[in-house]
C-alpha cells in the first residue's frame, strides 16, 4: 500500500506536482519530441571544444588555451597556448598557427608550430613552414615548405637557467618519432 506512489506513472506524478507552466513553456511542452533533439544538437558541456564551423569567416587574431576545431576560414593569426587545434576538411587557415598539437585535415597557408605534435592527414595541405617536436604525415598529404622536427634547442635565457638549476642534465635532442600515420 505504501508503494502506491511507485506504481503511478511517472508523468502523471510530475503533472500533478508541477505548477501550471507559463505560455512559453506550454509551447515547448506541446512538442516534447523536439526537446531531446535540440538538446543533443547543442554542445552543452563546457569541455566540448570550441568550433569555427563551415561558412564562418574570421579575419584577425584568435587566441585561447582550449581546444579548437576550425572548419571555416581564419585569416590572421591563431594562437592556442595549451590547446589542440584541428583544422577540419573544409577548413582554410591563412595564418601563422601556434598550438600544443595541430591536426591538419584542411588547408593551411602559413607557419604551423605544434609544440608537441603536428599531424597531417591525407586531405591536409600545408603551404608554409612546419615546426614541431613530432611530425606525422599520412599518405596523400601535401606539404610545401620547410620542416623542422625534433626538440628545438632551448632559447639562450632558458639554457642559462637550466644550467644553473641542474648541471647534470644534458639537453635532449630527440629525433623525430615515426608517428602513427602511414607514409
Amino acid at each position: 500500500m505504501w508503494k502506491k506512489e511507485d506504481a503511478k506513472p511517472q508523468g502523471a506524478v510530475d503533472n500533478v506536482a508541477t505548477p501550471a507552466p507559463a505560455p512559453a513553456s506550454k509551447a515547448s511542452a506541446a512538442t516534447p519530441a523536439s526537446i531531446p533533439l535540440s538538446s543533443s544538437a547543442l554542445p552543452v558541456s563546457s569541455r566540448t571544444p570550441a568550433c569555427i564551423s563551415q561558412g564562418i569567416r574570421i579575419k584577425g587574431e584568435v587566441t585561447g588555451s582550449e581546444d579548437l576545431f576550425v572548419d571555416g576560414l581564419v585569416d590572421g593569426k591563431l594562437n592556442l597556448t595549451n590547446g589542440s587545434l584541428t583544422i577540419g576538411p573544409n577548413g582554410t587557415v591563412k595564418a601563422d598557427v601556434y598550438a600544443r598539437e595541430v591536426i591538419v585535415r584542411g588547408k593551411v597557408e602559413g607557419k604551423v608550430t605544434g609544440r608537441e605534435k603536428v599531424q597531417l592527414w591525407s586531405t591536409g595541405q600545408v603551404l608554409g613552414e612546419v615546426q614541431t617536436d613530432r611530425l606525422a604525415i599520412e599518405e596523400g598529404a601535401l606539404l610545401k615548405g620547410k620542416v623542422e622536427a625534433g626538440k628545438q634547442p632551448a632559447k639562450p635565457s632558458e639554457t642559462k637557467a637550466a644550467v644553473a638549476v641542474a648541471t647534470t642534465k644534458t639537453s635532449d635532442t630527440a629525433a623525430l618519432s615515426s608517428g602513427t600515420a602511414a607514409g
Partner: protein, 227 residues
C-alpha cells in the same frame, strides 16, 4: 629465405591475407646505390639543408631529419598538375586571357617557376630530384634544373633517377633505409614526357662538375650530380 616464405604463402592460397599484403609491400623495395652514395657525400656535413621534390613521405622526412637535416619539401609534379589545371580553368572563364598569356611551353615553364622553388640562392646542400624530370615537359625540365643549380650551394649534390625506357606505371619513391628505396605505385599525376639519353642528361647538368650513374636491372638509372 624470403622467396621460400613467399612461395609457401602462394601455394597455400594466402592471397588477401595480411601476411601476403605485407610480403607484397616488402617486394616493392629496391637497393639504391645512388642513395648510399648521396649519404656518403653528405656524411659529416652536420646540420645540412635538403630539398625533397617528391611527395612528403613520413619515412623520407624522418630519415633525413634524424640525421640532422632541415628538410624542405615541395611536390613539383603535383604542383605542376595543379598549375595546369588552374590555367585551364582561368582560360575557360576568361577566353581573352589566351591573348595576354604566353602559352608556349617556355612561357608556361617561366610562370610555373615564378610560383615554385622560391628559396634563397645557394641554400641547399642536397636535392632529391627523384625521377620527375622524365615527367616534366622538356623545356620545363631544363628550366627546373637551372633553378635548382642556383639553389644548390657549391659542392652540393643532386640525386636524380632516369628511366631507360618509357615507364609502364607511375611510381613514387621513398627512403626505407640508408641503401633501400620503396616504390609506391600511385595514380598517374603526369604522363611520362621523355626518355633521356646519357648525352642529354650530361647537357642538362652541364654546370655540374661530377656525374656518377648507377644502372639497375629495373631500367632505372640513379645519378648523382655534384655542383
Amino acid at each position: 629465405m624470403f622467396r621460400g616464405r613467399w612461395d609457401r604463402m602462394r601455394g597455400r592460397g594466402l592471397r588477401g591475407h595480411p601476411q601476403w599484403a605485407a610480403a607484397c609491400r616488402a617486394r616493392r623495395t629496391r637497393v639504391s646505390n645512388g642513395l648510399k652514395e648521396l649519404l656518403w657525400n653528405l656524411d659529416g656535413l652536420g646540420k645540412g639543408n635538403l630539398l625533397d621534390l617528391g611527395p612528403a613521405w613520413q619515412t623520407t622526412l624522418s630519415f633525413f631529419i634524424e640525421r640532422g637535416f632541415r628538410v624542405s619539401s615541395e611536390d613539383i609534379l603535383r604542383g605542376w598538375k595543379g598549375f595546369l589545371a588552374e590555367e585551364e580553368a582561368r582560360l575557360r572563364e576568361d577566353a581573352s586571357a589566351i591573348e595576354s598569356l604566353d602559352m608556349t611551353p617556355g612561357g608556361r615553364a617561366v610562370r610555373f617557376l615564378n610560383e615554385s622553388l622560391q628559396y634563397p640562392k645557394s641554400s641547399f646542400d642536397a636535392v632529391l630530384l627523384w625521377d620527375l624530370l622524365d615527367y616534366l615537359e622538356p623545356t620545363l625540365a631544363k628550366q627546373t634544373v637551372a633553378s635548382l643549380t642556383e639553389l644548390l650551394r657549391p659542392a652540393g649534390v643532386v640525386f636524380a633517377m632516369f628511366h631507360s625506357k618509357k615507364p609502364e606505371g607511375f611510381q613514387r619513391y621513398r627512403v626505407a633505409d640508408s641503401n633501400t628505396l620503396q616504390r609506391i605505385s600511385t595514380p598517374v599525376i603526369c604522363p611520362a614526357q621523355k626518355v633521356y639519353q646519357n648525352r642529354e642528361i650530361q647537357d642538362l647538368f652541364g654546370r655540374y662538375r661530377t656525374m656518377k650513374s648507377f644502372v639497375s636491372r629495373d631500367q632505372l638509372r640513379e645519378t648523382l650530380f655534384i655542383k
